[in-house]
């Protein structure tokens, strides 16, 4: 048996390490000041896919939707061991909420299945740290008409057309059997993602998308440049080709993608301004702390 596993990943701003410099004077976030990272739980999803490939054989493909710079996470996935990568990028995808995002990812998955290989499983991280919604996984499952398993910690077994997985629930777990293809969202406790392989890094740092290749040749008109077509063929043969798909390459309705395809709209953004309440300050010497504890006990706050 061999499995084809599609892993959807996201490049996110590192919201955990937001510092003062990342906030603009008007209270909005300066995204440019934040490092862009591989969404942590997507690394767990990729690790789980790679481990399954090692057990059963097959192929791991990784896909993302994002700006052209999101190829950084695709290359990282190739360094870790992914076999194929594709980027869904288009200005028309911008401003997408989770519904429009899952719609676009589903179109990418269908294109992958039609042109490269039909998939047996789709993996996502449970949630992305920039929104923490955990919505795209289940929404993508619905868009692809697949069963969904969420909060997956372990895949116990995959047999012909079926899989058995351990999923976290509130206060415990469930072992669930379900048919493949299906979609799974993976939690951070599932595994420890492997570091990039040194040899793979040397090899796949040369992996390119079409736009990157064109940019390296000063954006020459692609169709007319035999050189680019020749280089693309060479990269494809070596497995160094990152598929780049735009809205026009996918079977998508224009009013279902990006801002137009997003039912939720941001009405207002407020920076978090604190009232700056006066608090009673105590020193760090023992006498001051004794005084504080005494006051708390007197006020029946501590007993």
């Amino acid at each position: 048996m061999s499995l084809t596993i599609l892993v959807f990943v996201k490049q996110v701003p590192d919201t955990k390490n937001i510092t003062g410099e990342a906030m603009k004077a008007d209270g909005t976030v300066n995204r440019a000041a934040l490092p862009a990272i591989f969404n942590p739980e997507d690394l767990n999803a990729l690790e789980m896919a790679l481990e399954l490939r090692e057990r059963y054989g097959g192929m791991v493909a990784v896909g993302t939707m994002g700006p052209p710079t999101a190829t950084a996470v695709l290359r990282h996935a190739l360094y870790m061991g992914a076999d194929q990568a594709f980027l869904l990028t288009d200005r028309k995808f911008a401003g997408a909420d989770t519904l429009a995002t899952s719609y676009t990812l589903a179109a990418g998955a269908r294109k992958f299945a039609a042109e490269i290989a039909p998939f047996d499983l789709v993996f996502c991280g449970r949630q992305a740290i920039d929104g923490d919604t955990a919505q795209v996984g289940p929404q993508l499952a619905e868009k692809l008409a697949l069963p969904q398993l969420t909060y997956v910690e372990e895949i116990q077994e995959v047999t012909a057309g079926r899989l058995r997985a351990r999923c976290l629930i509130e206060g415990g777990y469930e072992i669930i059997e379900c048919p493949a293809p299906s979609l799974l969202t993976v939690v951070s406790t599932a595994n420890t993602p492997r570091p990039p392989g040194a040899r793979r890094l040397m090899q796949f740092k040369k992996a390119r998308t079409r736009s990157e290749l064109a940019a390296a040749h000063r954006d020459r008109a692609y169709e007319e440049a035999d050189l680019l077509i020749e280089e693309e063929r060479r990269l494809r043969d070596k497995g160094l080709w990152i598929h780049e798909w735009h809205a026009e390459d996918l079977d998508v309705e224009p009013d279902r993608i990006g801002m137009a395809g997003s039912p939720t709209k941001v009405k207002a953004i407020e920076s978090v301004v604190l009232a700056g309440r006066e608090y009673k300050q105590f020193g760090t010497d023992q006498a001051s702390i004794n005084q504080l504890v005494h006051e708390l006990i007197e006020a029946h706050i501590l007993s």
Binding site: P13, T15, K16, I18, G27, V29, D97, T98, L99, S102, D130, G131, D132, A134, Q135, V136, P138, Q139, A141, E142, P147, Q148, T150, Y151, R164, I169, E170, G171, G172, Y173, E174, I175, I176, E177, C178, P179, P263, T264, K265, K267, A268, I269, E270, S271, V272, L274, A275, R277, Y279, K280, Q281, T284, S288, I289, N290, L292, H294, L296, I301, L302
Partner: protein
């Protein structure tokens, strides 16, 4: 242009397991009641399971006007596909205006599947809900009486107000403990509507072969005093000091997300937007900077004591008592002071 249409009711997904209703569902019923009263519509609970005949009365007492009750052995325990099918059919038949889900693992698995099928907007982890008008600037359409879905975003550095511009329902999830638990009104009654359960073969493909569920070992929501540690604690070893402090003063142990992510303590202890919301008599924040998503889970505490090295840490702006200093130095002195109290 003003969009005008019939206003549907306010629905709450009632989560139950083994005949026990999740607290978050009851909390949501009270907010649903307020929203419905404001809109001049009714509330309904959507209850799925098996052998749940005794539950609707409890829901009436918590503010439900109608309970849609779908019972079938295939709906117990929860799995997302059959639940989504029954709920999508129900929404299409009745078109509620607003539909609230608890942001539990069940709600977070079910609500997106339902929303995706209905092409409805869904906002996760709201910390407040209000009714207001909304102008969609892209289309120039003015929507009257829409649900304002308020949530921290971008790592909690901003508060976003989200509104839906597509057709109803307006769907949101809300964490447990964010809305206060209402007092039940004994003897209040309502109407039960039995819902036919029509499932297709593809809805029942997943099978639970084993299930293990324990009551939560930690219940911070009931805690009177909480000692909470954050990233400033510095290490798993230092976190032992937080535990010791808590034990000495008879408190429960909480943590910020950063401390949980660092692996110093289990997620059950996490306070904040992606953890539990607490309202203790005293909250002691140790080495917690006080990002808004943490504050969302503890700012309602009666008294807050902040211990932090950074005098500009936002936690001080909501604190009642504060010590600017190294917690590794301060906490042992607090323990000493408490032990030697008279």
């Amino acid at each position: 242009m003003v969009a005008k249409k019939r206003i549907g009711n306010v629905w709450v997904f009632i989560e139950q397991d083994g005949g026990r209703i999740a607290e978050v569902s009851l909390e949501l019923l009270s907010r649903a009641r307020e929203l419905a009263d404001q809109l001049g519509v009714e509330t309904a609970g959507v209850l799925l399971g098996d052998r749940c005949d005794g539950l609707p009365q409890q829901l009436f007492e918590y503010g439900c006007d109608t309970v849609f009750l779908a019972q079938d052995p295939r709906l117990d325990p929860f799995t997302p596909l059959p639940y989504a099918k029954v709920i999508v059919d129900l929404v299409e038949a009745h078109r509620p205006n607003i539909f609230l889900f608890g942001a539990t693992p069940v709600g977070r698995s079910l609500a997106p599947r339902v929303a995706s099928c209905l092409l409805a907007g869904l906002t996760a982890d709201c910390t407040d809900l209000r009714i207001d008008d909304f102008e969609d600037k892209a289309s120039g359409t003015v929507f009257k009486n829409k649900l304002m879905q308020i949530r921290p975003a971008f790592g909690g550095n901003i508060i976003a107000t989200i509104a839906n511009s597509w057709q109803d329902p307006q769907m949101v999830t809300v964490r447990e403990g964010v809305m206060p638990m209402p007092e039940p009104e004994a003897g209040r009654t309502g109407k039960v509507v039995k819902v036919p359960v029509e499932l297709r073969d593809e809805d029942t493909v997943a099978r639970i072969v084993e299930r293990s569920k324990a009551e939560k070992a930690v219940n911070l929501r009931a805690a009177q005093i909480i000692v909470s540690g954050g990233y400033g604690v510095g290490s798993a070893e230092n976190f032992g000091l937080i535990r010791e402090f808590a034990e000495v003063i008879g408190a429960d142990v909480g943590a910020s997300r950063a401390a949980v992510d660092a692996g110093w303590i289990d997620h059950d202890h996490q306070v904040g937007q992606t953890g539990v919301t607490v309202r203790p008599r005293l909250y002691i924040a140790c080495g917690i900077s006080g990002a808004v998503q943490h504050r969302a889970g503890m700012s309602e505490s009666a008294e807050i004591l902040a211990i932090n090295r950074d005098p500009d840490a936002p936690i001080f702006s909501i604190a009642h008592y504060g010590i600017v200093g190294d917690l590794n130095e301060v906490i042992p002195k607090m323990i000493k002071a408490y032990r030697s109290r008279v």
